[in-house]
Structures are given as structure tokens and as C-alpha cells.
Symmetry: C2
Subunit: 289 residues, 2 copies
């Protein structure tokens, strides 16, 4: 079975658990709308890629960890779109969850997706010791002090620690994706895989800056040009478009050099290079320095 099918299957099974009789149907619908139709599924793909490179000997663990990471990413988007944060009416080109279902269900769908991530891991068929390591790794990437929730909370401080903000808000789930891939495949020193996730996370942040500066709204599926309008720091403002694209490729290359030895290193390297190309909007690729 190919990776995309495994990822969608695991997510579908997880979200399906909300669609049993006895669950409030509008909550179930809001949860499905938060997770489908699919985005790029970058985090679970990264998790699967590392697990494959390390042997993927308990596929159920990999699928559960990948699904958990994506569910948590979707939960964070639903809560970030709320009127008290970004007040975004659109997400992936469609009405955001609060716009379609109202604020109460957007809060609850986000809460339920957070819990579902942990339920999904706890249900996985794999050795309990690996599961506990996965749950610890994912928990740290989402919660306090350095996970995505803490990252988002920097927006509520008078003095914002910008590097901590980006590392927590965006980087934490990417780093967890590579570490979880290794944990799921039974690698003892899974933390050695964190550097790859960190670099891919930074590259993704640069790609987001490029997309914000250079895409049109239709291509990005969300409002663009916000960084400049809000005076946010951006790799494009710092390096220009061509410089930002080069920087993105450098970051991916640094991530690849930081990879620990593994069985299928060649294939993983190829996937990461492919990912770097995918991250640059097609009509901009020609601008690469």
C-alpha cells in the first residue's frame, strides 16, 4: 500500500470513530471538515519517510503516529482560525470551521481532534513501550513548554521571543515527525533524527513566507500578503524571493547531511529533495538563485 493511502486510511479511521451513532452529528461533521479534503499531509509523510528509512517494522505504530501529528496540525488550524486569533473565514479555499459551524463547534472540534490524536496512538497495534515513547514525543511537540500551543501563546505576550515562537509554533511538529518515525521503527536513539525535522520545519517556514509574498490567494487557498501588511519577519523580506528559495534548498540540504545512518538512506534523501522542490510554488521555481 502506498504512503498516501496509508495516511488517508489512518485519518479516515480516526475521524470515523466520531461518526458512530451516539456522537453529536454536527461535531462529527465539523471534525471531518477540519481534516478533509486533504492538505499536503507534510508531517505524516515526513514521519512515514523516516520510518521507512529505518525499516518500518511496526507499520501500525507509524500510521498512528502520522495520523496523530496530522490531527494535531488540523486542530491547531481550527483554533488559530477562531475570531479571537486570526479570524480567518477561509482555509484551504473553503469556509473555515468556525465560519461553517460556528465558534462553539470550532472550539470543540479542535479539542476533540487533540484528544483523538492521543486516542489514535493508544489504539495502535504496537508494543506498549514504543507507544509510550510516541505519546511522550507527540505530547511535548504540542503542549508546554515548547510545543505548538506554547508557540501560538507567544502571540499573547507583550514581548515575543520570535525564534522560540517559530520553533514552537511550526518547528515542533516537524521535529516530532522525524523522531516519531524513528521511534515507530524501533530506533533507540530516535532523538538523533530531530535535526532533520528541525531543518525541514525551517524550510517549510521559508516556503510559507514565499507563498505569503508571491502566491495569489487562489493558489495559496488562504489570504496572502499578511506578513508585509503586519510587519511580520519573513525570509522574503530579508533575502528577496530568489534568496529565500536558495535558503530553502540549503536548509533541506543541511537536514539531509544531519541524517543518522539508516537502512534506506538513499530513498529518504531522494524524498527530501523532492519535498524541497514541491515546497516552492511552480511558477517561482525559475527564480531559484
Amino acid at each position: 500500500m502506498d504512503v498516501a493511502t496509508r495516511i488517508e486510511g489512518a485519518l479516515n479511521k480516526a475521524v470515523g470513530s466520531a461518526e458512530q451513532s451516539g456522537c453529536p452529528p454536527r461535531l462529527a461533521a465539523a471534525m471531518r471538515a477540519s481534516v478533509f479534503p486533504r492538505g499536503a499531509r507534510v508531517r505524516p509523510r515526513l514521519c512515514h519517510a523516516v520510518a521507512s528509512a529505518c525499516g518500518d517494522d511496526e507499520p501500525g505504530a507509524t500510521e498512528a503516529a502520522g495520523a496523530a501529528l496530522e490531527l494535531l496540525h488540523c486542530a491547531s488550524l481550527v483554533h488559530d482560525d477562531l475570531p479571537c486569533f486570526d479570524d480567518a473565514a477561509l482555509r484551504r479555499g473553503r469556509p473555515s470551521v468556525h465560519a461553517a459551524y460556528g465558534q462553539p463547534l470550532a472550539v470543540l472540534a479542535g479539542d476533540a481532534l487533540i484528544v483523538l490524536a492521543f486516542q489514535t496512538m493508544a489504539r495502535a497495534s504496537c508494543s506498549p513501550r514504543r507507544l509510550v515513547r510516541l505519546i511522550s514525543t507527540v505530547g511535548a511537540a504540542v503542549g508546554v513548554p515548547f510545543g505548538i500551543v506554547a508557540g501560538q501563546a507567544w502571540e499573547c505576550e507583550d514581548e515575543i521571543d520570535l525564534s522560540r515562537y517559530h520553533r514552537s509554533k511550526t518547528g515542533a511538529l516537524f521535529a516530532a515527525a522525524t523522531v516519531c518515525g524513528a521511534v515507530a521503527a524501533g530506533v533507540e536513539d530516535a532523538e538523533a533524527w530531530r535535526a532533520l525535522g528541525d531543518k525541514i520545519g525551517e524550510a517549510y517556514q521559508v516556503a510559507d513566507d514565499i507563498s505569503d509574498a508571491a502566491s495569489d490567494e487562489e493558489e495559496a487557498g488562504k489570504p496572502v500578503g499578511k506578513d508585509a501588511a503586519l510587519g511580520r519577519p519573513s525570509a522574503v523580506i530579508r533575502y528577496g524571493i530568489a534568496g529565500a528559495i536558495s535558503h530553502l534548498h540549503e536548509l533541506v540540504a543541511e537536514g539531509i547531511s544531519a541524517m543518522p545512518p539508516c537502512a534506506n538512506a538513499h530513498e529518504l534523501r531522494r524524498l527530501m529533495e523532492q519535498e524541497a522542490r514541491r515546497l516552492v510554488p511552480k511558477r517561482l521555481a525559475q527564480f531559484a538563485a
Copy 2:
């Protein structure tokens, strides 16, 4: 160490993990304000009581499960108090979290507490197999289809399933508390403990109805008289005050009869009877039929 000290110690350690340098300080403060000063800690006390009755041979598991249940209860209060739900300015006689810290931090503090509950269990020093069972049990009690988040979501449906609403919104964490106590103590058929939690949960719901109907606001620490004003179903409206108090005692007695055999049954029975008395506001105890 007495149970109250163990419960507060575990919660303090969990919330303390947000208070490290590198965590946004206002988020950490909002989390502490959500959990302290302490409420009655009914759910962790119930978890500890069952674990003790069953031998409590891995105290770290009991403490982690108790703390997780309370963190999730606190998270649900913080989110329920938001303007889009109850819009409550007061909680336990003090400003609610959104009133004190604003909506964004109330959303994030709730999110972070949900994650912290799972982090706390994953960090517990106990056998991985017990941990995975605890995480599954707690996850089911909070998430979809039948946990407290699903319970709250019934408020967003056009047709509300009232029995499911109460069982999910209030009962689920009580039932999880008794099951987790048994799991933490290594009981194989821990589900046999669910009936006790169900009955105590129902008794607690009746106590809440009594408190809403008969307490003054200062005693309850929150606005009262809402059930009658909003036409909500209530044991007091159905049975009268004296009848509701009798019904509460009957429910606790039914829970006690449903207890599976265990090492310290006598002590647990005494604790549950004490709890039934504690649940009735002092100045009303005389009205018991």
C-alpha cells in the same frame, strides 16, 4: 503521604512543567489559574480511593491518572466558561480564565491542559502496558464519541439527546476515574469498576442540581438558579429538595452495591458514604427524607 497531598503534588508538578524558562509566561499563569486554588478534586479522589481499595501497587500510575482526570476537568471548565458557551465571568468565586487573561489565552490554556493530561500520564513511572490502558480509558472519557467534549457538543445540536448529554458531559470522567483507579492498581477486569463511577457521577449531577436550586451564589462560587431560568431538566424540579437528596443517597448506595470484590472494600465503602454526605450543602442536610 495522604491522598490530598499526593493529588496536589502531582498537579503542581504537572503545571510546573509550564513554568520553565522558554514557556510564554502568561500561558503558564493562565494554566495555573485554571487548576489552582483547588476545587473539590472529586475525580482524582475517586481514582485514588479505588486504587487504594485494589492495592495501589504502582502509586505513580494512580497519581498520574488522578492528575490527568483533574487537568481535563479544569480544561473543560475553562472552555465551557468562554463567551461562546456559558460566558461565565466567575468560577470558584474568582474571575474565570477568559475574564482574567482574555479569550485567546483561555482557548490555549484549555488546549495546553488537555495535552498536559496526556503528557502527565506518558511521564508516569509505571509499566508501559498499564500506561497505555490508562491513556485509552482517559481518552475515551474526554473525546468522541462519548466523552466530555462530545457531551458539551450536544448543546450545539438542534435535537439534544439529554441522557447522552449528561452521561457524556458529567458521567464520563467519573466512570473513567473508577476504571483508571483499578487499571492503575493492575486490576485486569477494570471495566467492572465502571458502574461505581457511573452512579457517583449521577449522584454528583443531582448534587449539582441541588446546589443550583438551593445554594446562594457565595456558597456555590458561581451563578445559581440557572436550571429553572433556562428550563433545564433538574432532579430538584422533578423530586423536590428532600426527594433529590434521598435520590442522591440512593445512587451512592447503588454504586456501593455494584463494587466488585477488592482488598479494602470496607474503607472504600466508608469513603463513598462520606462523599455522599459532603455532596449535600450543609444547611440542607436536615431536609433529607
